[in-house]
Symmetry: C2
Subunit: 198 residues, 2 copies
């Protein structure tokens, strides 16, 4: 059997990207070779460089090229607040709201026992050390509002409350701009129970 060609190796490697099947991989390979060799080369180098240089922040666990990430080192952030998110993408979304000036802890996932993701995989031991050692007074749980995210928030809450920390959770309710007719009943029920004095 002959060894695979550069083109076959490239198509196989492209299939490792999430959401890319065999047809797409072939289409992308042909496209890059025919129309964007410069882009292909840039992507090739960027991938190798990223794998080599990017690891997790020793303090908040997000992706960074340094020992401690820029957010953790920023003296202007409020070190008494610690926001727990599932992914760096979630962290970015919260940053974009400009409503939060504290620090973060990135779980890099959520509890999902069926997939073998337990407390150790999402670094709950490190989170507890982080939350209790550095003058943190409030932990804001900003995991997703999915079953896994809610379970994760519950577990973290139960672990931190006995340690004397204030633990809060992002408010649930009707999304901004939503029409009630098109909002699901669970969300409206929650918003009704959590209603605020106007």
């Amino acid at each position: 059997m002959k060894s695979p060609t550069s083109l076959e190796l490239l198509t196989d490697a492209l299939r490792r990207l999430p959401g890319i099947g065999p047809k797409s991989a072939q289409r992308i390979a042909y496209h890059m070779l025919q129309h964007d060799r410069d882009g292909a080369l840039r992507l090739g180098h960027a991938l190798c460089h990223a794998v080599e240089n990017i690891h997790h922040c020793a303090r908040c666990n997000t992706f960074t090229e340094d020992e401690i990430c820029a957010t953790c080192l920023d003296p202007k952030r409020d070190a008494t607040l610690l926001c727990v998110v599932e992914t760096p993408a979630d962290q970015l979304m919260i940053e974009q709201t400009l409503t939060y000036k504290g620090l973060y802890f990135v779980l890099m996932g959520s509890l999902s026992p069926l997939d073998g993701i337990g407390p150790k995989e999402i670094h709950l031991d490190r989170l507890i050390t982080r939350a209790t050692d550095n003058g943190v007074t409030e932990v804001v749980l900003a995991t997703n509002f999915t079953n896994e995210g809610e379970a994760t928030a519950h577990v973290i809450s139960e672990m931190l409350k006995p340690r004397g920390l204030k633990v809060s959770r992002l408010a649930r309710g009707v999304p901004v701009g939503a029409e009630l007719e098109y909002v699901d009943a669970g969300t409206i029920a929650r918003a009704m129970l959590d209603r605020k004095t106007a």
Copy 2:
């Protein structure tokens, strides 16, 4: 302004892939760094290696790592038949049917004057040289059945027929397995006009 991080460079580079927007690029970058660093490295090397090694076959214009591709060099192929396709993917599809044993010429596109793709860009000069110099007796036009593909087939046909070559086109008609009720009228009209004695 600070220089972009490895992660930003990677996300930007991923956006060069066809069909990948900013959100997908970010999602892919995080996924590869968190769950498949080995795959990321493999893809990085495959891209660099492919760009460096893959070019066009001097005879049929398909992608190859050699001067002349394996198909063109195969002595078992029928050198009197030349099939013209738009892309290497189309060539692969025809190969998979196992109904064709001749050689190929890959245009790497189709005529599209509005996009600036004229006869030169799809190498029609090289096709004519190839079709008239090497004992070819029949040219099978297997460009797509789109407007661009049909126009391309027409132009090639008009160029080659005066040179004494037999020029044929893939048959048009109702797809195998199709129910007439769901086939478009244009296809049925064509199939009616091209009907064959049973």
